[in-house]
């Protein structure tokens, strides 16, 4: 059973560009959350998708947007990239039907903005 997968592994972009990161949840999971982890920091919650809708959002600007597809996979889009967007972007999945709230994290996408 594959766990949470993310692509690409690494990405280098220039300021002002746009980027799309992808995530496939663990089999049986229907809820996907995205986190940003800056160097030396803990992950920060960006937003969560459930039933193809954004259910909750953290303190991130509208430049950060997302999407969830019918197969529960998800994309994170960041527009007008800033140097400060350089970070590890983590995707986590869980099942909304579970009461454990146990999230499974993917290995992340390392984004570097130059």
């Amino acid at each position: 059973d594959a766990g949470v997968t993310q692509s690409p592994t690494h990405l280098i972009k220039t300021r002002g560009q746009q980027v799309t990161l992808r995530c496939s949840p663990k089999s049986g999971h229907d809820t996907v959350s995205w986190y940003q982890q800056a160097l030396g920091q803990g992950p920060q919650f960006i937003f969560q998708y459930y039933e193809e809708e954004e259910r909750q959002r953290g303190n991130f600007p509208d430049r950060f947007s997302g999407h969830q597809f019918p197969n529960y996979s998800s994309e994170l889009n960041v527009n007008a990239l800033l140097l400060g967007d350089s970070a590890l972007y983590l995707c986590a999945s869980t099942s909304d039907s579970l009461s454990s709230y146990e999230q499974y994290f993917g290995p992340g996408t390392r984004l570097t903005v130059t």
Binding site: G40, G42, P43, Q48, Y101, E102, Q103, Y104, F105
Partner: protein, 116 residues
């Protein structure tokens, strides 16, 4: 607002020695509490979690954590550390009153080094 504090940025422990990593949280009630471990280049792996009940919880890899309501703490412990335990450890809280209780708030992490 919820917050998580991990007071120790970096800890070095001798192999075989005991370990305690500290975590304090700020929340109006008892949140869901988690400890995750992150090895270099890896995602986060859940070590253990607390929702309610017994305040001493057992996790994977020989770790345990104790919830102390009076101190708003959820410290992680291991009686004997192995070299493979060297990693970054994160404490996190989730809001049990929020339907999206999985929107976790993480501390800044503690880096554990193990010396021989």
């Amino acid at each position: 607002a919820q917050s998580v504090t991990q007071p120790d940025i970096h800890i070095t422990v001798s192999e075989g020695a005991s370990l305690e990593l500290r975590c304090n949280y700020s929340y109006g009630a008892t949140p869901y509490l988690f400890w995750y471990v992150q090895s270099p280049g890896q995602g986060l792996q859940l070590l253990l979690k607390y929702f309610s009940g017994d305040t001493l919880v057992q996790g994977i890899k020989g770790f345990e954590a104790e919830f102390k309501r009076s101190q708003s703490s959820f410290n992680l412990r291991k009686p004997s550390v192995h070299w493979s335990d060297a990693a970054e450890y994160f404490c996190a809280v989730g809001d049990p009153l929020n339907q999206a209780g999985t929107a976790l708030i993480f501390g800044k992490g503690t880096t554990l080094s193990v010396s021989s």
